[in-house]
Amino acid sequence: MQKLKSVNEFVIRFANVNGTGSASANLLFAKSVFRMGLPVSPRNEFPSNIQGMPTFYEVRVSEKGYLGRRGGGADIVVAMNSQSLARDMRSILPGGYFLYDCTKPIDPKLVRQDVNMIGIPISEICLREYQDPRQRQLFKNVIYVGALAALLDIEFEVLKGLIKDQFKGKEKLVIPNIYALELGHKYASANFECPLAIRVKRSDKVNNHIMVDGNTAAGLGAVYGGATVCGWYPITPSTSVVENFMKYAERLRIDPASGKKNYAAVQAEDELAAIGMAIGGAWNGARSFTATSGPGISLMTEFLGLAYFAELPIVLINVQRAGPSTGMPTRTQQPDVLACAYASHGDTKQVMVFPASPKECFDLTAEAFDLAERLQTPIIVMSDLELGMNDHLSEPMEWDDDTRYDRGKVLNAEQLDKLEKFGRYLDVDGDGICFRTYPGTHPTKGAFFTRGTSRDHFAVYSELGDIYVDNVDRLERKFATAAQLLPKPEIIHQGKKSAKAGLIYFGTSTSATLEAVDQLAAKGIKVDCCRIKAFPFALQIEQFIDDHELLYVIEQNRDGQMRTLLINELEQAPKKLIKVVHYDGLPITARFISESIEEHQQGTAGKKSPLTAASR
């Protein structure tokens, strides 16, 4: 029968039971491919549950470097969960390979004729090899990785190396793990014709890249960005941002003399308190941040309004997840764009930056602290579950040691002495940003009352209309200044002169979009690209829109929220901006994008329900 053939371009999907330690074995597999010089993108589809439920791990291998989710079925399925066998069998492409535990015979009704069955008696092997039931469970996962090594021609030395790295410090675990790998490897080599028609071959496509998740990078960005005050409250998928900040700070932020901590992180009682702490720290002159997701954003809205109006420089890292409400806590989306842009009652606008890779999570988080203190307003770093919690191939992180933090407009005692009269809300140079002072700076000058109420240039409470208007108009000026200071969009033109159509996208839609561009090109559809990196929007984005007849705004939410921002803030005609939205909780795919655009270009569009998109 048909056998899928491919070298270095395929998708393998692992079906496990969560809480059984499969994730680390699956990562071991992904990393081995990575170390063979191949671009790879693992994705963990886990349930909002701790133990016993079906969980999936999909790895895309692509020498071409297409690392967005491919979608559609998998080429290989490793089915280790008896609960989900039927569903797993369905998730495989015709001619694909189905690796399963054949210790117990599989229900014939489940077996598909167009699938190549690879049965390995994993339980039996474990039963034979191990006494301790916990080991029996644990090594199952390692054994199938060993088998895959044989089947897909992964260099065994690479796996050994990874095991050695993984168990640095716990060396006595190295041998048994390698032994388990060998068990799988031996069985596969002995019983199947290895390698399969689908396999990997060493390459050199990863250069000096690293494989890391965005939350780790963001946590490091906060360390390098000089954050010293962190208030936080656990919530998936943002938790690991702060956990990583603390993990690295414990190593890198210890005062050599006293051994004490050069940072303070407090697990707050909830998100209101978490952002309250960040605000207090920022008010007092420390670089302060918090991180949250979903409901946490809603709970922070009152304080976000205060920080906007009282002009306090905090950094908020929003690792978005599928909403609304509790929604799907372990699924990805970009659904908080509007909620963050206009967070809080009254006329408020918030500054956002949109990282698209772990490296950008690092860079933009670090830069966010400069921007916050320069603009004296909250900076919201808009990541999401796909970027934050999955490992991604990424350029290595870099830091220029000559970097000096931009602490913004702050007056010290000497400067205050020179000053005749200090006015906290005097816009001396017209950029809408005024000078502030830290508490405790000067015995007699520079003290003022920070408040969420209307106030005059000297921070005195006022209910006079013209004073109020003067103040909120200045905040608008400040917002215009922000548009100039923020990271510029990444614009790609296909040819000399711009194409008819342009794609606008941001964050984790990037890799899928770039793959889609190639797919469209193959079909003769030329499009230019504009990746948004920040809000308020830079001039270049407006220019890009003006330069094209038609724009497809690609995003991962139902309502086309970024499109709303573009229309509203740039006064663009809605008709010109076409919604391309994918919102089923799984990362958007190139196929979905290119097909949607193709259909639209052929006018065959019509409201296609992303329902089908879910299965693409």
Binding site: M211, Y224, K260, A264, G276, W283, A286, W399, Y405
Partner: protein, 351 residues
């Protein structure tokens, strides 16, 4: 409207150790109702800070929303202040203190601001033993929103409209003790003699100091049948023990007035709280005793004031967290940024 305030002062006003007059600790003219208890608290704070010779600009004033939370506008105007949002001052104070452990933090809140919307944050700032003075100006009503009954109103107390409150009032002092506050007192805005020494002791205490100050609202809760009126409070007050505060420098000379029993409690900075026990009074370092004293006095319909509980040796939040002694907001790149070399090593761990 500070301009309206006469700045004339008697030439030889008393100076404190910093050479500052009382005036250096004042604020602009109040906009609270004349007679509002909150302004008396402000006056007591001014006196205490002046007499303790705390540099006014090294104090940070934080509050929530309410008349009580407005009060800080009218004292210590050389100090930075932060009128946060309703009920959330504790978290902002926590962040501020994390950023700079060297300032003196005074949080001023109301009974609504703390016992209703602020209950959660209050409980947790207490539990974290933040090094601050937290004052609740307790009038049993929502003043700024014109007289709704608050959660500290006593059962049976009647509102100005005559409605009887049928729920138990929350005793914030008792809660503070239970949640681990290391300095807890209650006082009355009408009794400066008691309030000032308590404020001084609280300001000298290291850790979380809480004072529940009953502070009548003359406009909405000072009528007969209110248990938070000036008259009612005066009639029902009972002092746990008379508190005197002895600053470090006086230590040697000061001695217990003849014919009285005294207990000295030495604070972290060497200053002393001197207690003259009323009869039947307990050792305020005994938590359980403090709790039951509150229970029983309440049963008797008495308002127990004075120093209720103190643990002078407990660690504060920074000690628990083991933060560096330098204010975090003073650290620069050299201390904060590990540099590129380290980063490259970290990169390797991701290959």
């Amino acid at each position: 409207m500070s301009y309206q305030k006469s700045t004339f002062r008697h030439p030889n006003l008393p100076l404190n150790d910093l050479g500052l007059t009382h005036q250096a600790y004042e604020g602009p003219l109040t906009t609270l109702c004349s007679g509002c208890g909150h302004d008396s608290i402000g006056a007591a704070i001014i006196q205490s800070c002046h007499e303790l010779s705390i540099p006014p600009h090294r104090i940070a004033k934080l509050s929530g929303i309410g008349c009580s939370s407005k009060a800080p506008t009218y004292f210590l105007n050389k100090a930075h202040g932060f009128n946060t949002v309703h009920g959330r001052m504790p978290s902002v104070a926590t962040g501020a203190n994390m950023a700079n452990r060297d300032l003196t933090y005074i949080g001023m809140s109301g009974d609504g601001d703390t016992s209703a919307i602020g209950m959660g944050q209050f409980a947790h700032v207490v539990r974290r033993r933040l090094n601050m003075l937290y004052i609740v100006a307790n009038n049993g009503v929502y003043g700024l929103t014109k007289g709704q009954t608050s959660a500290t109103a006593d059962r049976g107390s009647k509102s100005k409209k005559g409605e009887e409150n049928l729920l138990e009032g929350i005793d914030l002092a008792a809660m503070a003790i239970q949640l681990g506050a290391t300095f807890v007192a209650r006082s009355f805005s009408g009794d400066k003699r008691e309030l000032v020494p308590l404020l001084k002791a609280a300001l000298s205490h290291r850790g979380f100091a809480f004072i529940d100050v009953i502070s009548p609202c003359v406009t909405f809760n000072n009528h007969v049948d209110s248990t938070k009126s000036y008259d009612f409070v005066r009639d029902h007050i009972e002092t746990a023990s008379v508190t005197d505060y002895v600053p470090v420098k006086e230590e040697i000379i000061a001695s217990c007035p003849v014919g009285t029993e005294c207990q000295d409690i030495c604070l972290h900075d060497g200053s002393i709280i001197r207690l003259q026990g009323a009869e039947g009074s307990y050792d305020p370092q005994d938590r359980a005793a403090a709790m039951s004293a509150l229970e029983y006095k309440k049963a008797e319909g008495k308002i127990l004031t004075g120093l209720l509980y103190v643990d002078p040796s407990a660690e504060d939040m920074h000690e628990v967290m083991d933060t560096t002694d330098k204010p975090l907001n003073s650290l620069t790149e050299s201390a904060l940024c590990p540099g590129n070399e380290v980063l490259q090593v970290i990169n390797d761990s991701f290959r």
